[in-house]
Symmetry: C2
Subunit: 322 residues, 2 copies
């Protein structure tokens, strides 16, 4: 029988699991709630229990699997297979993950950072089309990313490779970022960043706009509201999308001038705006890319949605295949 892969996507709200073929096809998937109580000490035992339960349910044993892969928040030590400072899991200190799961399940285990793992997933069976050079940018609560160059996920010397959200796009008058710098891409292109740009532009906009009115009235406005209003013809909302697209186009163009990947794949919640966002970003991307890069690197929207995490995690485990 052909062996399978297990992918685990560990998040602050839920832990997603998948059983996949060696070709990246999801055969089974399920999720459990993340119990972050008591310094998150239940998380690893809960993962072990859920895996054992499901393997029994499906009549599978350790011999049916090539390996287990996991994407985790926090600082991941890939060699020691542990995680440090994953604050949304209440793991302030170092948590042993791989050694426990390997001992309990008897299956080889690999782990990497969650944004990197999502990049691997999109590259493997998503918009990246298994190309050796793909850069993934995720626009969510923050802006993250993963760089795959010449077939390798690039971690860099201290594991901070792929910090796409902290590319400086406004060097002189940017918004303050949680990282301590000013003008990071994350401050203008995350879900909250889009709203931040809206507030700034609202100060000088004169004209009719439901979004401008909501901001001025102190009502809650989301990036989704802004993209929807722009798509419906709200000129103020449109100017926000334009500005955000400028920042994303500049950043993705410069990434591409450095790496000339096959594609830049944009994912995460904000990317739900789809072609409306992609085409705007591409306009600035084309303006700022070197001619040879302009002709070869493509801007795409992610295809895997929530499954990118388990698929990318499973791809980590394929390293154990003969």
């Amino acid at each position: 029988m052909t062996k399978k892969l297990i992918g685990i996507d560990l998040g602050g709200t839920s832990i997603k699991f998948g059983i996949l073929t060696l070709d990246g096809e999801v055969q089974e998937k399920w999720a459990i709630e993340t119990n972050i109580l008591e310094d998150g000490k239940h998380i690893v035992p809960d993962i072990v229990a859920s895996l054992k339960h499901r393997l029994e349910l499906y009549g599978l044993t350790k011999d049916d699997f090539v390996g287990i892969g996991m994407g985790s928040p926090g600082a991941v030590d890939r060699d020691k297979k542990n995680v440090t400072g994953a604050f949304n899991l209440n793991w302030a200190h170092t948590e042993e993950v791989g050694s426990v799961i390997e001992a309990e399940l008897g299956i080889p285990f690999a782990i990497d950072n969650d944004a990197n793992v999502a990049a691997l997933g999109e590259r493997w069976v998503g918009a990246g089309a298994n190309n050796p050079d793909v850069v993934f940018v995720t626009l969510g609560t923050g802006v993250g990313g993963g760089v795959i160059a010449d077939g390798n996920l690039i971690h860099g010397v201290a594991g901070a490779g792929g910090e796409i959200g902290h590319i400086i796009v406004e060097p002189e008058d940017g918004f303050a970022c949680t990282c301590g710098n000013d003008g990071c891409l994350e401050t203008v292109a995350s879900a909250t960043g889009v709203v931040r740009v809206a507030r700034k532009l609202a100060e000088s906009y004169e004209g009719d706009s439901s979004i401008k009115a909501a901001i001025d009235n102190g009502e809650a406005v989301s990036s989704k509201d802004i993209f929807e209003a722009a798509a419906s013809g709200d000129k103020f909302a449109d100017s926000i999308v334009e500005k955000v697209s400028y920042y994303l186009g500049l950043a993705t163009a410069n990434i591409s001038n450095i790496l000339n990947p096959d594609s830049i794949v944009i994912g995460g919640g904000v990317s739900a705006a789809g072609e409306f966002l992609r085409s705007r970003v591409e306009k600035y991307f084309l303006k700022y890319t070197f001619p040879q890069v302009r002709q070869s690197t493509k801007v795409k929207i992610a295809e895997l949605g929530n499954d990118a995490g388990i698929i990318g995690a499973a791809s980590l485990a394929s390293q154990f295949a003969e």
Copy 2:
């Protein structure tokens, strides 16, 4: 006997040759003039003749060598081992290089772009200290570069990886670049770029300065003149170095936010300014890097000078070692 490597650095003025150990030590080196007459048709035969002559002189045969590596200007096809559009060699069309040299010498041959090859050299035995993640930026007539990530030279999907000179550093009001875009790093940090920045700043500078006076009088001013005047206390020249360093600091910080290399190595003629330039660039680099990157990625000045080309070229040939 231990085998050796041959490295060839093909340029528009001279062709440099080196015989190196497998550890990258240069044992012999020589150079010949590049004869670009008659569409550069003498270049490859001249290389073959020079190699045969020297091998005989040193009493060496093809069996003494693992391989030959070459760095070339123009668009290099690494698989077909040919070069297209190397205009400073008068090679407008495709020139067969590797097939001829391999047939004449009987030694395996590898070729890559000259900026990439210089990056390999600096990474191997220069400032890169053989680290798997090194980015090389060369400030000469133009601005070029090479990206080595996870041990691999990154060519990208169309071979335009490492176009560091075409990172956009002035998105809204930049100088026109030869590539057709505006605001590229090359327009402000190449030898001519530094002078371009000087002319722009001279328009609004009021005060005593030999550089400002020379520009206003229409005299020839070089980037070397500007760095020397700045080091001697010329305030106007200092403001030029400051502005150029800002652009280089921003670009190298963003490269590092994406890749987190062990080091960014600055080479080329402009880098002769040494620590005076490096420390200025580093000031802006530190301002614009993500905290983890700031603590781990270093800004260095290249160490190999003119030998980077032959050393990097020789490193290409080490792929043929068992």
